[in-house]
């Protein structure tokens, strides 16, 4: 194994991305990495450090700055049987590949029956004072478009299994890595390299009073807040969606039928964020079970500010999440 994880019993979220990539490249010679500065440099966040030496320039491909072109290249390579893993340096730059992603990648299988196994990795999210064009949550840009899967792991132990599953999946998969979590979160033991099933949510904390539906960094915020609220006697069930498209609404609805109350949390802007779809579906499928309106907690309807006090005011904070859960649970 490439990373020095082999001997360790502790790994970061970032390590897990590397371990997943490494395992899959090792196993399958059709998998290759492509992106800006992924080779000798190991990527802006050093996820692919050492890969060039191990796999050589054929399978670890540094490109010109050309998000449209590289995404299209990946589509072509995938159509003829390779399994490209594209790295976007920051998820924000995926805007430059919006056109090929929706018009070339997403629709191709439905139109023709040809598989399109492209994995697109992108570090996303706020909390690093990186400002409006280096901090975006991009899942809503793509979630309306049929044919793309969107995977957003929160727990370090899910990262590699979901990444491996994404690479093996025959469809375009957007794999969104929360860059704030990269080095802040640790998993215990060895990295699990068994593929997970895409499209399956996970109840990461059981509870009875209110359901918190979330994903990515929200899982950690949610678990922390749930722990706090437990002291107040409020029992929160926390669901980690893991894959936001396809959405495992059954797990969500089942929980809401039990708790009768739901809060949705994400770092993305509330307006037409994933919470809008989830809230609508809960309401469509469990209306008669609801004791309270479903509440959405997310970022304010503004770009992600750069300066820390502004950024903090924009993205959901623990107090706000706690207040929402209390309000919904107690009302």
């Amino acid at each position: 194994m490439l990373s020095d994880l082999a001997d360790k019993n502790d790994y970061t979220y970032l390590d897990a991305v590397g371990a997943g990539l490494d395992a899959e490249m090792d196993r399958d010679p059709d998998v290759f990495l492509i992106g800006e500065d992924v080779g000798q440099f190991g990527g802006a966040f050093k996820v692919t450090k050492g890969f060039l030496d191990k796999y050589g320039p054929k399978r670890v491909v540094d490109t010109p700055i050309a998000e449209t072109g590289v995404t299209g290249l990946a589509a072509g390579a995938a159509l003829v049987g390779l399994k490209p893993v594209v790295e976007f340096q920051f998820a924000d730059f995926i805007s430059c590949a919006f056109d090929p992603i929706i018009n070339v990648l997403s629709r191709h299988h439905w139109r023709t029956g040809d598989a399109m196994p492209v994995t697109m990795r992108a570090p996303f999210g706020a909390r690093l004072s990186a400002g409006p064009t280096h901090s975006q949550s991009v899942e809503s840009y793509f979630a309306h478009v049929p044919g793309i899967k969107i995977v957003m792991p929160g727990l370090p132990e899910d990262v590699a299994p979901l990444l491996i599953a994404s690479i093996r999946d025959k469809n375009p998969v957007l794999f969104l890595e929360n860059k704030y979590l990269y080095r802040r979160l640790h998993g215990q033991g060895k990295v699990d390299l068994e593929p997970a099933e895409l499209g399956k949510a996970k109840v990461v904390r059981e509870g009875t009073d209110v359901t918190l539906v979330t994903y990515s960094a929200g899982v950690h915020q949610g678990l922390e807040v749930a722990e706090e609220l437990a002291k107040d006697g409020i029992s929160v069930e926390v669901i980690d969606l893991r894959t936001v498209v396809p959405l495992d609404i059954d797990t969500v609805v089942e929980s809401v039928k039990k708790t009768s109350r739901a809060v949705i949390l994400h770092e993305a802007i509330v307006h037409l964020g994933m919470g809008a779809e989830i809230s609508s579906q809960i309401q469509e499928k469990a209306f008669w079970y609801l004791d309270q309106p479903v509440k959405r907690v997310g970022a304010l309807n503004i770009p992600v500010p750069s300066s820390p006090p502004l950024e903090q005011a924009m993205i959901p904070q623990p107090e706000e999440i706690a207040a929402a859960l209390k309000e919904v649970a107690r009302a």
Binding site: G69, G72, L82, D99, V104
Partner: protein, 377 residues
């Protein structure tokens, strides 16, 4: 003819009024083009064979010439059928005529191997047919019929079949260019000697996809040939409003690859240019932009009367019918006889009529399973 900016008004005027020689018209900026002496072009790896006389045929392989001939004849027969089907209301929407582009398609296909990869756009019927796409499937695509390559899910010009190593492109032009670099990348990755050929129009060169794909292919040394069909119009937009480049072949300079400008109405010349470019790509010599000059003789699509195109320009170009030209030359060179030519044309006509019958008889698709296939399993 009124065009969009005062400065370009003159350029376009100069360009579209000066119809005495078709050569002049074919460049976005004839003045710049005139500075490109053979020495200058050689220094920048660009070749201009556009003004050359038709290639000598006597020492050519007759099989190759016949292949080209059958290709353009079938292409033309198919085009004729589609025009009449459009007029008689057989089609759902419009048809994007490939008239005067037949020699380009035939030249490309005669130079490609079956295991090479092909990424066409919207005027490439002749090439598709030569590659093995059944004519009734193409017709079905324009009719929304179940037997079309996508079973009616996509339609009109969005056809292609991966089993024929042919990409089925979406509307956005030239989205096929980046995809084509992926085909070429895979050939190199696997150590195969297959080459990819992608086609776009003059207007398509202005877009992101053209630039990023060609630069990427060059930077990665991919085995690929980019064909620019310079038919002098992009919808209603004439060359001088599209770019100020002297030619399209010379755009190769910006990417450090090779450029060839060729007469797109001369199937043999196109074949030669493609054979050179494909051979170079196959042997690891890098990418080429082949500019094939022709004229769009119809509207952008059949619903477009194209009254923005000067009549004299059409008249001038009507003398350069690539099918007639090739036929005459082959008869003169005694590669075929007049009778054979007549028979070939008649066979092609019947073949196209037969295809129409199949397409007409085919059912419309059943909507019951349209939600299937969003994801590959």
């Amino acid at each position: 003819m009124a065009t969009s900016t005062p400065a370009k008004r003159t350029a376009a005027k100069k360009n579209t009024d000066n119809t005495s020689t078709v050569e002049t018209i074919a460049s976005p900026d004839p003045e710049l083009a005139s500075k490109l002496t053979p020495e200058v072009l050689a220094a920048i790896d660009v070749k201009d064979t556009y003004a050359n006389p038709p290639a000598e045929l006597s020492d050519r392989d007759p099989e190759l010439l016949k292949k080209l001939y059958h290709g353009v004849i079938r292409g033309r027969a198919f085009e004729d059928r589609m025009h009449s089907m459009y007029r008689s209301g057989d089609l759902l929407g419009s048809y994007y005529s490939g008239n005067w582009h037949e020699a380009i398609g035939a030249g490309i296909m005669a130079a490609m191997r079956d295991d090479d990869w092909f990424a066409p756009l919207h005027r490439d019927v002749t090439a598709h047919l030569m590659r093995g796409m059944p004519p009734e499937q193409i017709m079905a695509s324009f009719m929304g019929k179940a037997i079309g390559p996508t079973g009616g899910r996509d339609g009109t010009l969005h056809y292609g079949r991966l089993d024929l190593r042919t990409y089925n492109p979406p509307s956005h032009i030239p989205a096929n260019f980046p995809v084509a670099t992926g085909f070429a990348f895979a050939s190199k990755y696997r150590g195969e000697d297959t080459v990819t050929v992608a086609i776009c129009g003059d207007g398509s060169t202005s877009r992101a996809d053209f630039h990023e794909a060609v630069n990427l292919a060059a930077a990665q040394d991919l085995p690929i040939v980019f064909v620019v069909q310079n038919n002098q119009w992009a919808y209603s937009t004439p060359l001088p409003l599209q770019t100020h480049s002297a030619t399209f072949a010379i755009k190769a300079v910006a990417y450090g690859i090779h450029g060839i400008k060729v007469d797109g109405t001369d199937a043999v010349a196109v074949y030669d240019a493609m054979a050179e470019a494909i051979e170079r790509a196959r042997s690891g010599g890098g990418a080429t932009i082949v500019e094939a000059v022709t004229m769009r003789m119809h509207g952008h699509a059949e619903h477009d009367p194209a009254d923005y195109v000067p009549r004299e320009m059409l008249e001038e170009w009507s003398k350069k019918d690539p099918v007639e030209l090739l036929e005459k030359r082959l008869i003169d060179a005694k590669v075929i006889t007049e009778d054979e030519a007549k028979q070939t044309r008649e066979d092609a006509r019947k073949w196209a009529i037969e295809a129409r019958k199949i397409a007409i008889a085919a059912p419309m698709p059943d909507p019951s399973n349209i939600e299937d296939g969003i994801y590959a399993e």
